[in-house]
Assembly symmetry: C2
Homo-oligomer: 228 residues x 2
């Protein structure tokens, strides 16, 4: 069985958005895997020791890192399983959705929940995370997250293209979920697992889509432990 090296918080919670992309992709392809708990500070010890980030997939000895590379590997290696992209054009357009998710959601969310992420980590990871992230932001994590209520309306507004799309179709992929759905689901799942901050309005159409995503594959996403 394939092994997915999966980022884990102090209590075992699997919160990494990049890893969630891969977990959903493996489930979409109907490929069972062991999602092995990995701390930030354990990444250097995976397989050949050359991996710098998770997820890392060990598919019966074939080692693949980086969530997009893994998605391409799965699509090419298992072409008879359900497609993640829906063809070459779908693959190209999925990259646009992913770039949007990274530019809008990852960056938008980190500014809203970075301290919540920190608080969920194991002691060794806390030190690594605070040091690396404060270097990136140039200020304490507490300051990055401060005043988030005032920044929430702009974040919600930035989701408008997704809201427009989902007003006309159930999934980003159209009739059924595709990797494009997982790539947007993943950062929302990240936030759900480390933070209680209410990102979306109760009646936001994106919420209903997110609930549908949580239900996929026997509730794979929903079973993941939430922020307490």
């Amino acid at each position: 069985m394939a092994v997915l090296f999966d980022l884990a918080a102090a209590d075992g919670r699997r919160f990494s958005p990049h890893c969630w992309r891969t977990r959903m992709a493996l489930a979409h392809k109907n490929l069972p895997c062991e999602a092995r708990a990995t701390r930030f500070t354990e990444i250097a010890f995976i397989a050949d020791g050359h991996q710098k980030t998770v997820p890392v997939l060990d598919d019966d000895g074939k080692i693949v890192g980086d969530s997009w590379a893994i998605a391409e590997y799965l699509e090419n290696t298992y072409p008879d399983k359900p497609s993640l992209f829906g063809g070459a054009s779908g693959r190209a357009l999925t990259l646009f959705v992913q770039d949007w998710a990274i530019a809008t959601l990852h960056i938008g969310l980190i500014n809203l929940i970075v301290l919540d992420i920190f608080l969920s980590l194991s002691p060794a990871d806390k030190e690594y995370f605070r040091t690396s992230r404060e270097k990136r932001f140039g200020r304490p994590l507490e300051e990055v997250q401060a005043g988030r209520e005032e920044r929430l309306p702009a974040f919600r507004q930035s989701l408008q293209p997704l809201r427009m799309l989902l007003s006309g179709q159930e999934w980003i992929g159209g009739e059924g979920p595709l990797y494009a759905d997982y790539t947007v689901f993943a950062p929302f799942q990240w936030a759900r697992l480390v933070s209680n901050f209410p990102l979306l309005e109760e009646d936001d159409i994106i919420r209903a889509w997110f609930e549908r995503c949580l239900d996929l594959y026997d509730g794979l996403g929903r079973k993941a432990q939430m922020a307490g």
Copy 2:
């Protein structure tokens, strides 16, 4: 030959982003058309008189309005011609690109160039445009456009997903242009045709892609008259 009712400025310039989507889609399908100059105030007289917006396509008596409906009509009616979407998944994902283009580009651009658009219109259209747009904005067009230099950095930042995508592939559609390219090209072409305001930095990768789009189909986009 098909007739495309195409929005025209006072001097005949064809600036409507919605019409540009359709012109590029027709060229992609290798379908010749007469792009007939139509003023805002002439829309009510097209065909059966039930059309409220342009583009409107008259394909040998079959009347189709709305750029997305026209794209779907062309894809379904001419399946043996080059595909606009690349399959069902591509169609669904193209809608996300279009929703992003509308939420980010149309709304971002109108706030930067609305007065430039007004100034390009014919006298009768000027009155219609000012009245309808000032009602929508709740203030004079001059005020909407004022201070645009200060708002330019945020607009440029909002294009980051497109920039990320184009750093790895030539076209939004991947190896070649698809409707997804045209749906993003169209609002940039709109701006090019009515305004001299420098929207993008000289070395922005989006510029190189836009130039490639202008070259498509014997320079269809490039031949269109620019803002003087």
